[in-house]
């Protein structure tokens, strides 16, 4: 029941082990993605909007 796009993950996982730490490639990818996203969010320039000196009028 695989679709044409699918990249199969249905095989034994690869594990990265150092000392007491052992992490599956799947979990490690998620953790690395999280750190990359965080770093990008800090460094990527945010589109600059015009600052308004006075707050928009309410009613």
């Amino acid at each position: 029941m695989r679709n044409f796009l699918e990249i199969s993950l249905n095989h034994p996982a690869h594990y990265i082990t150092f000392g007491p730490f052992s992490v599956s490639a799947g979990n490690l990818s998620i953790i690395i993605a999280m750190m990359v996203i965080f770093t990008l969010a800090l460094f990527m320039p945010f589109p600059n909007h015009e600052d308004h000196k006075v707050k928009g009028s309410k009613k």
């Binding site: 695989r2 679709n3 796009l5 699918e6 990249i7 199969s8 993950l9 249905n10 095989h11 034994p12 996982a13 690869h14 594990y15 007491p20 730490f21 052992s22 992490v23 599956s24 490639a25 799947g26 979990n27 990818s29 998620i30 953790i31 800090l42 460094f43 945010f46 600059n48 909007h49 015009e50 600052d51 308004h52 000196k53 707050k55 928009g56």
Partner: protein
């Protein structure tokens, strides 16, 4: 190094410069972008669905292990037979100092493995040999029951040839008949139903089959180790196949890998308590000493608000 910056009172409502913003538009764009991302990831990577184990698959794939476990349930020597609360009073549970929370909660899910996993299902059988064996078992005093079952269980462990053991010395009583009948029930698929529908016809509670399967010496744990799911393999956060699992449980899994938790008989209660304390620490971090100062010492906020600080400086 004080700069010429006006000190902002963060509890006051903001009255400084503002920028255009659209809350509803932001939410809609976020749902569309994240939604497309989820739909794409799902199409690319799918999700795991490794077939569940059953009494049926157990009896077919590992008959010796099934028979040995069933005999051990009658002998009362399995993990669940000596578990303690919430299942029975045959074990102590885990302590943290002098406190035993499982005993305080009491036996709320009564399970007597010999009865629940073996005798009760066999009561549904109508052939006279099984019926007679069940009656003989039930009529015997518990000392005799355990001597039969232990003798048979020990012989099985030595011999390994399940079901062909002869009872020359008459030491096993009805136990071989009971175990053989249970094995036949498992092979036919009837045991799966019997263990889940004893209380109600809607099978929603898998406590009995899963505790029984959990007592298995090789079948269940070997399948798990092969998938890198055991407790000493950071199992809780892992997933079958190569999919990512509950990586957010990394800290919980971590404690089980190191001493003193690794070899402690009270590991579960110790790790759970430690995680409780750490979670409370995260919750109350703003009012703890030292920790809330870290963002001031390592000024990541200079990066986040760099435009603002630059503008202020000029």
């Amino acid at each position: 190094m004080r700069r010429e910056l006006s000190s902002v009172d963060p509890s006051k409502k903001w009255s400084g410069p503002v920028r255009e913003y659209d809350l509803i538009k932001e939410l809609v764009v976020a749902v569309v972008v994240v939604g497309l991302l989820a739909l794409t990831l799902a199409a690319l990577f799918s999700s795991p669905d490794e077939k569940a184990l059953t009494m049926n698959s157990w009896s077919h794939e590992a008959p010796a292990d099934f028979v040995q476990t069933a005999a051990a349930e009658l002998a009362g020597t399995t993990t669940s037979a000596s578990y303690g609360p919430p299942y029975n009073k045959n074990g102590e549970g885990q302590n943290i100092g002098p406190i035993n929370l499982s005993k305080l909660a009491g036996v709320r899910i009564p399970i007597d493995p010999a009865n629940s996993f073996v005798i009760e299902p066999l009561k549904s059988q109508s052939d006279p040999i099984t019926t007679a064996a069940v009656s003989q078992w039930l009529a015997a005093p518990s000392k005799e029951q355990s001597s039969w079952a232990n003798a048979y269980s020990d012989a099985l462990l030595k011999d390994g040839k399940a079901l062909t053991l002869t009872d020359a010395a008459g030491m096993y009583g009805p136990v071989p008949t009971l175990v053989t009948a249970l094995y036949a029930m498992a092979k036919s698929g009837a045991l799966d139903g019997a263990l889940t529908t004893s209380d109600t016809t809607l099978p929603t509670n898998f406590t009995k089959p899963l505790l029984f399967l959990g007592d298995s010496g090789t079948y269940f744990p070997d399948k798990a180790s092969a998938q890198h799911l055991s407790g000493d393999q950071w199992g809780v956060m892992n997933e079958t196949g190569s999919w990512p699992g509950q990586s957010w449980l990394w800290l919980y899994s971590f404690w089980y890998q190191i001493e003193p938790f690794k070899s402690s008989g009270n590991a579960d209660i110790l790790v759970m308590s430690l995680m409780g304390i750490l979670s409370l620490g995260l919750l109350l971090l703003p009012i703890l000493p030292v920790l809330p100062r870290i963002p001031y010492w390592i000024p990541v906020h200079r990066l986040i608000w760099r435009n603002w600080y630059n503008k202020k400086k000029n």
